[in-house]
């Protein structure tokens, strides 16, 4: 069985990291570095694919396998192993991470060509894959946390990759720092959740914890706290309200990083974690509702900001936050497999959108303002086609992947949640279609607004072929999750595959209602109509009638300003948290604690020593005879001492 060697998928990227990280400066040849980095991930992908098919051929009961390598921590009752769990959920995640990861690695060979730190980029990317694989394959919370922190570290390193470049008002390293600090807040919640889990269940192993959580006898309030803390962790990593502020700034990193870490894989870690702990969340219905509300509000909130942004990567970043909100909405209404399904399809089309954006930025010599694009279609046909496919997919046009996953979520939120969730979700779908096609129209169609010194050109094959691969996935990726409505007897294949993971959780959810198929079809048609409306409106405004956008801008200047400034949330956080901390640090921690207390103690001790030694050093007058005299006197005293005490 290949699954026994699943640990190779974790350690091959680590090996790649070590080789490129240690010998990168010696190798120099970009091709060799790129091939080492990509093949480490590519081989992992092959192993995952083989494991996937072998697991598929097994009977359903024996699909969960645990590969234990060695005991990591043993202290009292705590026993933590380096052990990898291969099951339906982790295999899906591993396929996405290594598959999309491999494509992005190949793309990076082209994108990062000529960068002075080419080797460092690939070393970091491989380290990221290593951490991410630990996160998703872990069979206990501690190993998951190792991966959780590891991906945070890599995110920080890669956001600040071009540390000497300016980003907005400050530098890219400031943006990396912001991401790291905001993530730490979430991580703190996650740690508290872990402690509480250990207190309650006496173990940190998934199998044991979830079995004990399923059994009766533990009060709901305990579950509420655990779920709340875990969810705080998830909001940090997956950029949900209130901890989403780092993700737009994370766009300071190179574009492949935005595609891999800040769209396809790392930011979905929170979704994965909540889905993995689904049994804990369904035992705390209040928190489950919080998850749904936070999800849908984030989805709507981020989409409205995305409407007016002009930086191509910023639009995509807010779009990512919005789509992650959808996933949390799905989890919150108990449709765990729908959430994971959207996670997967989103990884395909959002990675594609980012890579396409990277291709455009590459062609436009680092210009990221969509107002300075226009008419790029004829210069870069491959990028255009793939970008268009991804935009259609994210807008939810059938039969592309985004349609199936988004519709599944909207349907579940209607059936298991309430109409308000559905309405907000559907409205967000309209906004999504609008801002995506605003982007497409401003970039590829219309009048050329390109600066004279820019000469757009199609990207090399090493970049366009990954785009095509992702485009194919974006088109067909949804077909494995066709709802039972259309696929007949077999039901939703994706849902069926994940069923064993969420079976116990779904049993605990009691509010299932059955609706007629006609309702489902009606809602589906409504959401498609909304998506098409969004696309057409965007086309009318930005292509046929460009002055209309300006008119609207002037008419609703107040709203525009608020959206343009992202609801002033960054400023609000600065006012509420950052500035007070700075003030406190300066006036109390620095000027009193540090300067007076700590420095005072240290300097005081030094001056005492100094004043004593100025007196003592007078003995050292440099005359050898004086030293000899002291010695002689000493010997005499010692002799007397010995003689008279014995």
């Amino acid at each position: 069985m290949m699954t026994e060697y699943i640990y190779l998928t974790v350690f091959l990227p680590l090996l790649g990291f070590l080789i490129n990280g240690i010998f990168g400066t010696k190798i120099k040849n970009e091709k060799v570095i790129g091939i080492i980095g990509s093949s480490a991930v590519g081989l992992s992908f092959i192993i995952v694919v083989i494991s996937f098919f072998q697991t598929l051929s097994l009977p359903e009961e024996s699909r969960k396998q645990i590969v234990e390598l060695f005991t990591w921590i043993q202290a009292g009752g705590l026993n933590v192993s380096i052990a990898y769990q291969v099951d339906q959920l982790s295999l899906i995640m591993a396929l996405v991470v290594t598959g999309v990861g491999f494509i992005i690695h190949v793309y990076s060979i082209g994108y990062m060509h000529g960068d002075k730190s080419f080797w460092r980029f690939f070393a970091y990317l491989n380290l990221f894959i290593f951490a991410m694989m630990n996160l998703i394959l872990a069979d206990n919370f501690v190993l998951l946390f190792l991966g959780w922190e590891g991906v945070g570290l890599c995110s920080y390193l890669l956001i600040g990759f071009w540390y000497d470049r300016k980003f907005e008002k400050s530098t890219t390293s400031e943006a990396g720092k912001k991401a790291f600090v905001v993530n730490r807040i979430g991580d703190f919640g996650f740690l508290l959740g872990m402690f509480l889990i250990y207190l309650t269940f006496g173990s940190l192993n998934f199998t044991e914890v979830f079995a004990r959580a399923d059994a009766p006898g533990i009060p709901e309030s305990t579950f509420t706290f655990i779920a709340l803390f875990l969810f705080i962790g998830a909001t940090g990593k997956s950029a949900q309200i209130p901890l989403y502020v780092w993700l737009p700034d994370a766009m300071a990193g190179p574009t492949p990083v935005s595609a891999l870490i800040h769209a396809a894989t790392m930011v979905t870690a929170g979704v994965y974690m909540v889905a993995r702990c689904s049994i804990i969340f369904v035992s705390a219905p209040a928190i489950l509702t919080v998850v749904a509300v936070v999800g849908v509000v984030t989805a709507l909130f981020a989409a409205t900001i995305g409407l007016v942004q002009n930086d191509i990567k910023k639009v995509l970043a807010y779009s990512t936050i919005s789509q992650l909100g959808y996933m949390f909405l799905a989890l919150g209404v108990g449709a765990f497999s729908a959430g994971i399904f959207h996670l997967m399809t989103h990884a395909f089309f959002k990675a594609l959108l980012f890579l396409g954006a990277g291709s455009i930025i590459h062609a436009m010599h680092e210009e990221q303002n969509i107002q300075a694009y226009g008419g790029l279609k004829k210069y870069m046909p491959h990028t255009f086609i793939t970008f268009l496919i991804a935009s259609l997919a994210i807008s939810g046009i059938p039969p592309l992947s985004g349609f199936f996953s988004k519709d599944e979520i909207l349907w579940s939120s209607f059936a298991n949640g309430n109409v308000l969730f559905w309405a907000l979700g559907a409205f967000t779908a309209l906004l999504t279609a609008f801002y995506m096609f605003r982007l497409v129209n401003l970039t590829f169609f219309g009048k050329e607004r390109i600066a004279k010194d820019k000469h757009p050109h199609e990207s090399p094959k090493v970049m366009t072929i990954p785009l095509m691969a992702l485009a194919v996935l974006s088109v067909i990726g949804g077909l494995i999750g066709i709802p039972a409505l259309f696929s007949g007897e077999g039901g939703n294949k994706f849902e069926h595959w994940l069923e064993p993971i969420f079976k116990n959780s779904e049993l605990k959810l009691s509010h299932y209602q059955t609706y007629a198929h006609s309702t489902e079809i009606t809602l589906m048609i409504v959401s498609v109509i909304l998506a098409v409306t969004g696309i057409l409106v965007a086309r009318n405004i930005y292509l046929k009638n460009p002055s209309f956008a300006d008119k609207m801008k002037n008419k609703f200047n107040g709203i525009y300003k608020i959206l343009w400034n992202k609801y002033f949330i960054d400023e609000f956080y600065d006012w509420l948290i950052v500035t007070p901390i700075y003030r406190l640090s300066e006036s109390v921690l620095w000027k009193i604690t540090d300067a007076k207390l700590i420095d005072g103690t240290v300097n005081g001790l030094a001056s005492i020593v100094n004043s004593i030694s100025t007196r003592i050093r007078k003995f050292e007058n440099g005359i050898a005879q004086f030293y000899a005299l002291i010695m002689a006197v000493g010997i005499v005293i010692a002799l007397f001492w010995i003689i008279f005490t014995l």
């Binding site: 050292e620 005879q625 005299l629 002689a632």
Partner: protein
């Protein structure tokens, strides 16, 4: 008549004290050096006396060691004194006081 050991010991104690005082109070480096030799020889005298008193030849053996070391020391010490004189044009050890903080 055989002299009892006390005489030897008292003599060597006096020699030693003269040596110590010489080292401590004389200013001329060569005299200080000679005083050191005096202390060494008082120790030699003690050892020879005890050797004869105890009927054991190890004390005499050590005297040869001490004499060898003293010879070597005399060579090095005089060399140092010559070097010192060339540098400072003086042998007054009060003026050779750079051995301090």
């Amino acid at each position: 008549m055989e002299l009892s050991i006390e005489y030897y010991l008292i003599l060597s104690a006096f020699m030693f004290i003269i040596g110590v005082i010489g080292v401590l109070i004389r200013r001329n480096a060569i005299v200080v050096f000679m005083s050191i030799e005096l202390m060494l020889n008082s120790a030699n005298l003690t050892m020879v006396a005890f050797s004869s008193y105890l009927g054991n030849s190890i004390g005499q053996l050590f005297v040869f060691f001490v004499m060898t070391v003293a010879a070597a020391e005399a060579a090095i010490g005089l060399a140092i004194i010559i070097a010192m004189f060339r540098n400072k044009k003086t042998l007054n050890i009060d003026e050779i006081n750079i051995l301090k903080w």
